[in-house]
Structures are given as C-alpha cells and as structure tokens.
C-alpha cells in the first residue's frame, strides 16, 4: 500500500494556517509594508531630527556659555580696577552682559521653564534647578549696573576726573542719579531675596564658588549704593546742614567708641564745607550751667560729680549717645544740629590711605597712613603753638585741628589728587568696622537709610539672640592699644524651653610688665602719652543681651579701695543694670596690671523666645555686635544642640562638630550674624 509520507496535518501542526481575507490580493501585501516602512522612516527622521536639534542646542548652549564666561571675566576685571576695563567702558560692559543674558533667556525659555523640575537629576540637577533664579539675579545686577554706570560714568572716567571734577560737581551728579540709585537699591534687595532661596551646599563647586563671590560682593555694593543715595542729602545738596563731628580716641575706649577728645562743628552747603569750627571737648563744657549726675560707674569709680560733654558717650547705642552729646553741646552753643558723626583714630587712618600725603605746618614731615597714629599720639606731648596764653587743652589738640583742616583743604581745593571711589570705599569700611557712625536728626529719610545700613551705630533690635560686650576705660589713661581682647560665647539649646548662655571675656595687657602699683590718676597732665599707655587697665565691662535674660552667675572681681581714686573698694559682685535700648545689661569692673591676663564670665538664662519655630524645626539666630572703636576681636561660638538634632543650614562655616556641639571660630571685624536651622 502506497501510503503518503506522514505529513502533519494542520490540526496537529504549530504553524498557523493562513486565514482567508476579503482584501484584494494587490493590496493585501501593500498596506502593512507601507505602514511598516512609513513608521520606520518616521522614527528614523525623528531620531535624526532629535540628534540634529539636540546637537544644535548643545552647540548653541556652549556658544552662550563662552559669551557669558567672557562677560564674567570682563566684569571681574572691572571690579579689580574700575578704571582699566579696556576695551569696554563700564556702562557698555554692563549693557552687553544684560543683552547677552536676555538673549540666552529668550533662546532657552522652554528649558528654563522646565529647569525647576529636574532637581532629581544626579550631579547637576540642583544646578539646573537653580538656573532660572541665578539668571534673574544676573539680569537684575547687570541692568542696574548698566543704569548706574551710565549715570555715574563721569566719576568712573579718569579723564573727566582730572578735568576739574570737584566735590560740588560730584554731588550734583549723585543728586541727578538718585532715581537710578533707588532703582539699583530695589534690584539689589531683589537679588538678596533670591539669593536667600539658594542653598549653596547643594550646588556644584563652580556654581557655589560664584555664589560665594557674589556673597562677598553684594553687601559692599549695597552699602555703596546706600552711601551714594545718602551723600547728597547729608552733604547739603538741598539745604545747608550743620553737623557735629565727634573725634573719638579709642586708646581710651568708651562705650560708643573712644574718649571724646575733640569736636568740630561743620557747616555744609552744596557739598562744600563752609565752616569748620574745632574745639577740645573739655572746652565745650560750660560749668556755669547745670549738668546732671553722671552714670553710676563714672561717679563711683572715677569720682565724677557731673556728667559733661566729654563723657557723654556712655551708651553703646550711638544715637542715644549722640543725643546726649548734642544736648551738652547746646548747653554752650545754641546752634541747631542736623546730625552727628563720630570718627576714631583708626577710621581716620583708613581715610589717610587715600588722602596721603597731607602736609601740615605743625608736623615736620608729610602725614601718611603709616605715621598718622604715632603723630596723633606724640602731639599730646608736644605743645605745637607757642602762644603762652592758649589753654593747655587747646594746645594739645591743635594738631588734630591742623590735620582736619589739611584734609578738608585737600578734598576741596585739590580734588583731582583724591581718588573718590577709593575714599568712598574707605568710608564704607570705617562704617562697617565700627570706626565711624552717623546719625541724622532732622532728615527722617536719611536717618532711616543710615539705620537700614546699620551705620548709625544703634543697638541691633532684631529678633533672636544678641550679644554685645562693651568696655569702658575708666582709668584716666590710654592703655587700650596694649589690650588684646577675645570673646567665647557658648549657648546651650538642648532644652529649647530654657536655653542658657555663657559669655567669657578674656583680656591680656600687653604693656611692659612692671612692679609699679596701679595708681588711679585723676590728673595725668605730667605723664607722656606712652606712659599713659603703659598703665593698668581700669575696665568697666558691660554685656548687652536679649531682654528678659536672667543672670545665673558671674566671675567675682573684687577691687580694693586703694586702687581707686575714690578710695571706695568694690565687692566684685556683678551689677544688674536697668534695661537699655531694649536689652538686659550686666556689668562688672576689674583692674588689669600690665603684662597680666584676666578672664571674666557671665552665665545667664536666655528667654525661650530667642528660638524661632520653622516649618522644618527651629531657627537660632545670633547677632554679635561690635563695640565702636574696638579693633578686630577673635570670637569663638559654641552651640550645643539636642542629641538627635540635625543642622539643616548654617550661615557660617562650622569649624568643629563634636558630641552635639557646633564650634564656630570667627573674628569680630564688624558685626557678626549667625543663623542655624535645626531639625530636632
């Protein structure tokens, strides 16, 4: 039997049997082929377009990057030397940068819209998310920079400066630029707000570096703009102004700066000093008129009966001290006073770096920043005017008057020899480092601007924790150049309901050690300045802390009566003083001989309100205010946080972190501001 081969039938086969279709034969094979081919081409074209588009975008982004980098390099050059920005003049450079940023923003608008949503990307996610904010900040800065440099271009151009630009014309220029300055101030405030939203720790090192650069620069620029806004008003652009310039000698440190050694009444009109009348501070007091009792330490330690002009700066809150000084001044002169400035020797030395050399008849060589302090000190020992009828007080301050007059003359008569941009920076530095204060009484707007810039020397009134150590040299001497001081502030936040603080003040007298007894001289006329610097340090130290703080303990500092001019000894117990300028105040007094060190400590309970609750936990804010007239002071801040707590953000770098303690090692050159965000 011839059987066919055993071919599996369709029922048993795995191969599907083709189904019959109604589609005509000609089309049955075409449709799927066409669709497949279309979609293949479609995907291929898409891929190609994506590659071309992506590549083009990358190339464009790179080109923009190069352009913006070159702008940044040119801007850095401008900041290094405003007068050497070839080939770009400052206003054109800012305009070009602004145009580039706008061009970039236009071209990458969609990407910038999407940028905040790519935070999750590894490595550069946070950079990309921060980009729109950074761009807005850069636009604000470049736009206001362009406006400002255009309106102030004559001041920035050396050719114009040399062509008879005077204080009056400078003032007129600043007056005209007020709208641009106000716009810039607003733009800078916007930049500061935007900056506060960026967390530098999450950004790449390059971007973080740029932001740090900006952080260092922004306060200076803001201060410069504030200064330029203020200057026309303060210099009498609209009306004649009369100010008192209080000359402080920080060699004899007092709460608002230094001992008030001299005073000048200055009348200004349209930027020109019309009158400068200088006096020794002792000459101002008119003893025929009644004066109030002095503050207790002045009476009890120095044995003073009356509170007079040269001791008026007892409050570290400069506006308060200035009002007292004006009241005492007006005991003698019924002159309306528009405002008060206080400048110490170090502040003047900083100005001398710009004004040098100054020639004064009463000094054998040109005065410079190098020799001004020795010259001022020597002048007390040398009677410069051979007039036997002149009072001693007047004679030994005559040199100071000569120096002031020489400085004013140089500013007014030889403006081409003064670099006003550098002088402006020196003035700002003196304000920031607390060697210069200014308060305006009559002009409320100027007063508000000074307060806002914290140039009025007022005590900080913001919320949070606060510390200010205030020393007053009550020794009738000039020892402070030899005194090295440091602060250690320790705050315990482990119990948030009852925070506690310990402030340790350390003093070292670097004067030559001697066996001489600490004798409290009342009349030191027979001693040279150097001898007065080598005396013991009679220091009445006060600490200003948040209102509601309660003293727990303090280092006792007993002083025997034989060491005081009054003959009355002190038990050494700390003084609990009345609140002042919204702060609690504790005081102590000690005597420190040359070559020795002293340490005095205050432990106190802080009010719980210093800690601010936030969405993620708590915020601890500490403001350490520097006393006027003080040099740079090393500060160590230790913050103890609850054991399980985590620091989310710190405005200052943490130098050491151990066992729930954060240690910050800083230097008090100006005021210090610390903000800590903590998740409990």
């Amino acid at each position: 039997m011839n059987q066919p081969p055993n071919v599996p039938t369709s029922q048993h086969s795995n191969v599907p049997t083709p189904q019959r279709s109604n589609v005509p034969t000609s089309q049955r094979s075409n449709v799927p082929t066409f669709q497949r081919s279309f979609w293949r081409w479609f995907l291929l074209c898409d891929l190609l377009l994506l590659l071309i588009g992506g590549g083009a975008t990358v190339l464009r982004a790179r080109a923009w990057w190069n352009v913006l980098q070159s702008d940044l390099t040119a801007l850095r050059g401008l900041l290094r030397d405003p007068q050497a920005t070839a080939p770009w003049p400052p206003d054109e450079l800012f305009r070009m940068t602004y145009a580039d940023l706008r061009g970039f923003q236009r071209e990458f608008a969609l990407a910038l819209e999407l940028a905040p949503y790519v935070r999750w990307l590894p490595r550069y996610g946070h950079d990309l998310a921060a980009f729109p904010t950074l761009l807005e900040m850069a636009l604000d800065l470049s736009e206001s920079g362009a406006l400002l440099s255009q309106s102030l271009s004559p001041l920035l151009s050396p050719q114009r400066q040399g062509a008879g630009y005077t204080l009056e014309t400078t003032l007129a220029l600043l007056d005209e630029a007020q709208p641009q300055l106000a716009y810039t101030a607003d733009a800078l405030a916007r930049v500061r707000q935007a900056r506060a939203t960026l967390d530098v720790t999450r950004l790449s090192p390059r971007l973080a570096g740029w932001l740090k650069e900006l952080d260092a620069l922004l306060p200076r620029v803001e201060q410069g703009v504030q200064g330029a806004l203020l200057l026309p008003r303060l210099l009498g652009a609209a009306q004649t102004r009369t100010y008192l310039l209080l000359v402080h000698n920080e060699d004899e440190l007092r709460p608002a700066g230094g001992f008030l050694t001299g005073v000048a009444r200055i009348t200004l009109r349209e930027g020109r000093i019309e009158q400068l009348y200088f006096e020794n501070s002792a000459e101002v007091t008119d003893f025929k008129r009644p004066y109030p009792d002095p503050p207790d330490p002045l009476r009890e330690i120095m044995g003073l009966d009356l509170w007079v002009f040269h001791d008026s700066n007892w409050s570290p809150d400069f506006p308060t001290s200035a009002r007292v000084a004006v009241a005492f001044y007006q005991h003698r002169y019924a002159t309306p006073i528009d405002g008060v400035l206080a400048l110490d020797q170090e502040g003047f030395r900083q100005w001398m770096e710009v004004l040098q050399p100054l020639n004064v008849d009463s000094y054998p060589e040109p005065l410079t920043a190098e020799n001004i302090l020795p010259a001022l000190r020597q002048s007390r020992d040398t009677l410069l005017e051979p007039d036997p009828l002149a009072s001693w007080e007047h004679l030994h301050k005559a040199f100071l008057e000569d120096v002031l007059n020489a400085a004013v003359q140089k500013l007014q008569e030889q403006p081409e020899s003064v670099d006003f941009a550098r002088l402006g920076l020196a003035v700002i530095t003196a304000f920031e480092e607390r060697h210069l204060f200014a308060v305006a009484f009559e002009d409320a707007e100027a007063a508000a601007l000074l307060q806002q810039a914290r140039w009025d020397g007022a005590l900080y009134r913001g919320a949070g924790d606060f510390v200010m150590a205030v020393d007053a040299n009550l020794g009738y001497n000039k020892v402070n150049p030899y005194i090295a001081e440091s602060l250690a502030y320790s705050v315990d936040l482990r119990d948030l309901a009852q925070p506690q603080a310990t402030l340790t003040l350390r003093y070292q007298h670097r004067g030559p050690q001697s066996d001489a007894y600490c004798y409290h001289f009342q009349k030191a006329d027979s001693l040279t300045y150097e001898q007065l610097m080598q005396h013991c340090y009679w220091d009445y130290a006060r600490i200003f802390v948040p209102a509601g703080s309660r003293l727990i303990s303090a280092t006792p500092n007993p002083v025997p009566g034989r060491m005081l001019v009054t003959g009355k000894g002190r038990s050494g117990e700390p003084d609990l003083l009345p609140d002042e300028a919204g702060k609690s105040v504790f005081g102590t007094f000690f005597v420190l001989p040359p070559g020795q060190s002293a340490e005095t400590r205050f432990a106190y309970a802080l009010p719980a309100k210093i800690i601010e609750p936030t969405e993620n936990g708590i915020r601890y804010h500490l403001y350490i205010q520097k006393q006027g007239g003080q040099g740079e002071i090393p500060v160590q801040i230790t913050v103890a946080i609850p054991p399980a707590a985590r620091v989310l953000h710190s405005s200052l770098p943490v130098d050491d972190r151990a066992e729930g303690q954060l240690v910050f090692t800083q230097s008090l050159k100006g005021d210090l501001d610390l903000t800590l965000d903590i998740a409990p």
Binding site: Q27, Q35, W41, L49, R60, A63, S70, P87, E92
Partner: protein
C-alpha cells in the same frame, strides 16, 4: 482618491509638519548667515573697487555694516558678523570699537587663531599695548609658528619702552 494615497498624503503632512517644527528654530541662523554673506560680499566689493570714490566706498561699507547688524539681530552669537563689523570699524579708524567687536568674535570662536591675530592688531591700534601683547602671546601659545603674531609681538616689544 485611493486610500493608500490618502494615507501617504496624511503621513507626509505629519512628517513634513514635524520636520518644519523641528527646523523652525534654526531659521534665525540661516537668515543670519544670509546677511553675513551679503555683508561679506559688499566688503569684498569695496576691496575690488579700491579706486572708487570715498563716498561710494562709505555707502557700501554702511550697507555692509547694516547687513552685519541685521545678522546679529537674528543670531547674537554669529562670530563672522562681529568680525565683519570689526573690519568696518577698522576701515573707519575706530580701533576701540574694532577691538570690542573682535573680542566678542573671539569669545564666540575661541579656536580661530586668525581672529585672535586681528584682535591683537586691534588692541595695538587702539593703544592697548598690554592687551595686544597678551593676545599675541596667546596666539603663539596655540600656534607657535604663527609668523604674523611673532612679527607683531617683536615690533611691539621694540616700540614699547
């Protein structure tokens, strides 16, 4: 119309639309290139017609300058447009503006050594000898055998006190 043709048409339209959408952002670059080419043509014309009146040359240069400016409005990153503008400034004796335009061009085309040499020349003409020296030195760092930069640097050193 047969369904297949309709499908072809629909698909082609979709594909063409997507293609147009994709290349649309590139049109400013194309236009910028066109204006740069126009400006360059006019500049070449000036060089060819060296004997033409100064008014005619000025008019031609003005038109070339406008073409370069228009190119930059379309594409602010066009290095050739900046270089063209710099050439016009140089012709008009404005060395400072030429230096500015060339420094932009160099920022956009950092590898173009010829542009860098021209920037050095522009700085030299503007009296910015320090910047000129720095630029020629930069050229020689990239291309040590660049004769133009070497000669210019030598000449600069010889004239600088």
């Amino acid at each position: 119309m047969k369904p297949v043709r309709l499908q072809w048409l629909a698909h082609s339209l979709i594909l063409g639309g997507i293609f147009l959408m994709a290349i649309w952002p590139l049109h400013p670059l194309v236009l910028a290139r066109w204006y740069v080419a126009d400006g360059t043509r006019r500049m070449n014309q000036i060089q060819r017609d060296a004997g033409a009146s100064s008014e005619a040359q000025y008019a031609q240069a003005l038109q070339a300058g406008q073409a370069f400016q228009t190119a930059l409005r379309w594409d602010p990153l066009n290095a050739r447009a900046y270089a063209g503008l710099a050439e016009i400034y140089r012709m008009w004796g404005d060395a400072n503006s030429a230096a500015r335009a060339l420094s932009r061009a160099c920022a956009l085309a950092p590898r173009d050594v010829a542009l860098l040499v021209r920037l050095g020349d522009a700085f030299r003409d503007a009296g910015q000898t320090e910047l000129a020296t720095a630029t020629y030195t930069r050229v020689l760092a990239v291309q040590p055998n660049n004769a133009a930069a070497a000669q210019a640097l030598e000449a600069l050193k010889a004239t600088t006190p």
